[in-house]
Symmetry: C2
Subunit: 177 residues, 2 copies
């Protein structure tokens, strides 16, 4: 599919916009639907900043809710091929579809420990991390406080969102970037 220009994005009615960008935050349809009103966007970064600003306004429970809409890495949904299209591609790019039995057992145990402590899943931008970095992140981040880890998870959500936007919209030549 050809990427959209920012002008095409700005001309979209809310139905087309939500249809196109409804999953740039995983299962976060409401977020895309909310920020459509703030168009026109100057560029991808402006659109991304607008999404981040909206997330920042949410109460703590809402930010936790965003994390809870993310699947475990190489978890149950991945095993059942029930991930969203975006998550499937991202987990593959990190090599999470090619794990040994030992690696998978480690991931499942570490994900489970993380979830028990924080009541939300471990979220990391798989496109910026190969599997060893992801394993290391799981090992170290589980020691953080819930407050730090909520903030850290949301920062990862924002990165994931930026890559998903770049998949859909042309960067263009923009001196403001």
């Amino acid at each position: 599919m050809a990427k959209l220009t920012i002008e095409e994005v700005n001309r979209m009615d809310y139905e087309a916009f939500v249809q196109t960008f409804g999953n740039v935050v995983e299962h976060g349809t409401i977020i895309s639907a909310a920020i459509w009103k703030f168009r026109p966007f100057d560029n991808v970064k402006h659109l991304h900043d607008t999404i981040c600003d909206f997330i920042a306004l949410l109460p703590t429970s809402g930010k936790e809710g965003i994390l809870r809409c993310h699947p475990d890495l190489a978890g149950r949904l991945a095993q059942m091929n029930k991930l969203t299209e975006e998550s499937t591609t991202e987990q593959k790019s990190a090599g999470l579809d090619q794990l040994s039995k030992e690696e998978l057992d480690f991931l499942n145990a570490a994900n489970s420990k993380y979830r028990s402590k924080f009541n939300f899943p471990f979220v990391i931008c798989a496109r910026e991390n190969k599997k060893t970095a992801i394993f290391e992140g799981l090992r170290s981040r589980v020691s953080n406080s819930p407050e730090i880890e909520l903030q850290r998870g949301i920062e990862e959500v924002k990165k994931i969102c930026y890559y998903r936007l770049l998949d859909l919209i042309q960067m263009g030549v923009d001196p403001k970037l």
Copy 2:
């Protein structure tokens, strides 16, 4: 499917909870994911109140976003059989799957006029309104101010949500209701 007791609801981990209640607000997965942390719920009403409290905390753009996640009544998605399961049942209950050509033309024109004015769709609880009441609502509500109509739309979302919860959870005998 047998309805859940409130005790069963309270025992759910967040994955099961989001899977079960992710669409009690249309496409509002984040909302269910956010309010899971406030269990145990005393009863359906308490769960519903918790969802309503969360919605009330959202900025105006977020409330508009919730409305924009709703399909037009008897609109394009309905014609293409692409509504969520819940919306299909609800629109049917109001008789919106059995419209004459004239009624359908009226609805499409009135929905379009409403959307142009408010930048969100006309939302009404179809289980509490038959088609004539819905037509009348569309005719009269389009004259409201955007502020009134946002508030009105959100009240309808809450009613829709309550019926969807009642489809999933046993009412039980509860003197607090």
